[in-house]
């Protein structure tokens, strides 16, 4: 047993520790909550993380008054950040009581949005959010996995880093800029060339019927896919690199082609990739600006993907400043609460998957 086992054990295992040790003892971590530039800045240090949380508490029994003050101040700030989250949840809950009293749980399943009669239901928005995100993923996942495979397997070492950086630039572009580009470049292109072509070939499906006027569910899905590709690519690359090289070597030794060996690695990394996909879903679900500019703003469920729709985030963005009655405002806040719960569940699931994936590989490496 080398000393890095001891250090790893000493480091403790907070919820998000998912460090694995590759062949040369270089730490490769996947930190999905961070941007990839940050991830790589941390990983580049090429040394095991050695700071120990609680180091000070562990080795010092008590603190001098000045130090105690320092500790309490930093604790205060840390609590402020976590407290903000709790406060947000509490505020949202207290500001959605009116609609909760009026509609109860059926708010989630009702399909109605009539501010004149104060009659609200969340289903069209949940539908729009879910379908646009799903379309986004459907397009993004094959592309992202392809790019990740390219970066890990095919690209020459020197080229991989700049290309990876360039892909990450997509994540840095603000949402409103995507929206602007989508309105003036993407939507006319889709409306004039792509949608009529799809409708002529596949128009018998209810999915592609209706009026293909460029702004609707499908366009929103397409722009979401562009926004989500960098996240999935980044986490997938990390997870693929965390697969121990022994797997690939074994496959190649048994006579596999390059692609078959890659397939083995992908299979190894599949829970991590699922985690990446779910993270992308989390981002897509919370997107506001780009979606609200192209989704057509119509709170109704329709079978066609060309028809306008509405997502939770874009509904709040459009209508919050003018929710004149309290019930109306509470309805919007309750929509926000639903969105929060959805993103929370998605993010927890994603992190668990990515953690489990990289931990399993770490154990396999040590075995």
């Amino acid at each position: 047993m080398n000393c890095w086992h001891v250090r790893a054990a000493l480091r403790g295992r907070p919820f998000l520790a998912h460090v694995t040790y590759g062949r040369r003892g270089a730490a490769t971590e996947s930190r999905p909550y961070m941007s990839t530039t940050m991830n790589q800045a941390v990983t580049k240090r090429k040394q095991p993380a050695t700071g120990t949380p609680g180091f000070v508490s562990a080795i010092l029994g008590s603190l001098t008054p000045a130090d105690w003050l320092f500790k309490q101040t930093t604790l205060l700030f840390a609590l402020a950040i976590s407290g903000t989250l709790v406060l947000i949840v509490v505020e949202m809950a207290t500001n959605s009581t009116l609609t909760f009293e009026k509609f109860g749980w059926s708010f989630i399943t009702r399909s109605m949005w009539n501010p004149v009669l104060d009659d609200f239901g969340a289903l069209p928005f949940i539908y729009g959010t879910a379908v646009s995100s799903l379309i986004g993923l459907l397009i993004a996942v094959p592309v992202s996995v392809g790019v990740a495979v390219f970066l890990v397997e095919t690209a020459p070492r020197k080229l991989a880093t700049p290309i990876s950086f360039v892909v990450q630039l997509l994540a840095a572009i603000p949402s409103v800029v995507y929206g602007l580009w989508a309105i003036f470049v993407l939507a006319p292109l889709l409306r004039d060339q792509v949608y009529p072509a799809i409708q002529s070939k596949l128009g018998f499906l209810p999915l592609f019927q209706g009026n293909p006027n460029g702004l609707g569910l499908l366009t929103a899905g397409i722009i979401l896919s562009v926004m989500v590709v960098p996240i999935i690519t980044a986490v997938t690359t990390d997870v693929m690199r965390a697969v121990p090289p022994s797997q690939r070597e074994a496959a190649l030794a048994l006579g596999a082609t390059k692609w078959e060996a890659t397939l083995i690695i992908l299979q190894n990394a599949r829970s991590g990739i699922t985690g990446a996909v779910i993270l992308g879903l989390g981002r897509a679900v919370g997107e506001t600006m780009a979606v609200t500019m192209v989704i057509g703003n119509r709170p109704e469920i329709s079978a066609s993907l060309f028809e306008p729709s509405f997502t939770i985030a874009s509904a709040i963005a459009n209508e919050f400043t003018e929710a004149t009655s309290e019930v109306y405002r509470h309805a919007l806040v309750e929509l926000g609460l639903i969105l929060f719960v959805i993103t929370f569940a998605i993010n927890v699931a994603a992190r668990l998957l990515v953690w489990a994936a990289t931990r399993r590989q770490g154990e396999a490496a040590r075995a």
Binding site: Q47, V116, L215, N297, N318, T321, E322
Partner: protein, 371 residues
């Protein structure tokens, strides 16, 4: 080099230095700027914030710029976020005045923390505009055609309901893309109010309101958004204020009014719509002039209002606001015609003057007569 030394050395990549330089620059700018405004240049500068209807926004922006030229110590800012936003923000007292085409409902007035006054500023027209690249002449539309299209029952441009009023015009066999408002809108209120008057089916299914459950089409934010969408989407139809369509060279439909004439929206037809009602305006000046009687009246015309509290909370701001309102209904009206808004009829001006004179601070009227 040991790992520890490497880690220590990494602190000097130059990044923290760059970062602290940027941070210092930012903080310096902020402190200089912060000292600039509240205390510094223009100690007596009064800033007034308004928000609301997109309907009169092009004119209001012009007004504020002109007013600032002659009254350099008062700066107005108006954000066009929709009449619904205007009503909400003035009711929450988060702005100094609101703008709305739709008069406030009784419940909304009751819910406000103080008495709100409606001061009409100009008259405008809600037009039905469309984007038909193949049609060169402006269309005539009957109320049934408009209601049918917005109800989603008339789905193609060459439908009989539209074609019958436009003999000789070759309409394309294309689906109609309906564009309406996605935000709470006074323009929507005026439009749906008109449709409720001319179409019993509309009145029953949808009704009138700033934010209704539209049976067809997709929504955009503000008159700006609707006009933009119609401009960019072939075969679309939407409703917006006259100046937006004109400035963007979009065709407007002539609508058949209550006497059977097809009237094109314009300054004159809008003024004609208000002429009948002017003598009968209620005391609080809340009125609807859609489907007004008169052979030359344009059927979807409307007043637009500025919403102010009768009892102002800040003397300097209240005085500045009152002075501006007085200027608006007298001098400002001259600029209205350029922007295709109709000036207020004289009787309405008189009633507005009375309202402005009733605005008080701690009980004393703010408007000095003759100012």
């Amino acid at each position: 080099m040991t790992r520890e030394r490497a880690a220590w050395k990494h602190g000097s990549t130059g990044l923290p230095q760059l970062f602290s330089v940027l941070l210092t620059a930012t903080l310096l700018t902020i402190s200089l700027a912060g000292c600039g405004s509240p205390g510094g240049g223009g100690d007596t500068e009064i800033k007034i914030q308004g928000a609301g209807a997109t309907f009169p926004n092009p004119l209001y922006q012009k007004w504020f710029a002109e007013y600032n030229k002659s009254h350099s110590n008062v700066k107005f800012d108006y954000q066009s976020i929709g009449s619904g936003g205007g009503i909400k923000q003035i009711s929450s007292r988060t702005v100094d005045f609101g703008g709305s085409d739709a008069p406030m409902k009784d419940e909304e007035l009751k819910a406000a923390p103080g008495e709100l006054l409606h001061i009409p500023t100009v008259l405008g027209a809600v037009v039905v505009t469309y984007n038909l690249p193949s049609v060169k002449t402006e269309l005539n539309l009957t109320p049934e055609a408009i209601a049918g299209a917005f109800l989603g029952k008339i789905t193609r441009w060459n439908d009989a309901a539209i074609a019958s009023a436009n003999a000789g015009v070759s309409l394309p066999d294309a689906p109609i893309t309906i564009v309406h408002r996605s935000d709470g809108s006074g323009t929507s209120f005026v439009f749906t109010d008109y449709l409720s008057k001319v179409s019993p089916e509309w009145k029953e299914k949808v009704g009138a309101g700033g934010a209704v459950q539209w049976p067809a089409g997709g929504g955009e934010k503000g008159n700006e958004g609707v006009t933009g969408r119609v401009k960019q989407t072939p075969n679309s139809m939407g409703y917006t204020e006259l100046i937006y369509a004109e400035e963007n060279k979009l065709p407007v439909a002539s609508i058949r009014n209550s006497t059977g004439q097809f009237v094109r929206p314009s300054l004159d037809s809008t003024t004609a719509a208000a002429s009948g009602i002017a003598g009968q305006m209620p005391d609080d000046l809340r009125v609807s002039i859609t489907n007004a009687p008169g052979a030359t009246a344009y059927p979807i015309s409307s007043f637009t209002y500025l919403l102010v509290y009768k009892e102002q909370q800040d003397q300097a701001k209240g005085k500045a606001l009152v002075d501006f309102l007085w200027w608006a209904i007298h001098d400002g009206e001259q600029m209205a015609k350029d922007k295709l808004y109709a000036p207020l009829p004289d009787e309405v001006v008189k009633k507005s003057e009375a309202k402005i004179k009733s605005i008080t601070f701690q009980g004393k009227p703010l408007h000095a007569s003759g100012a």
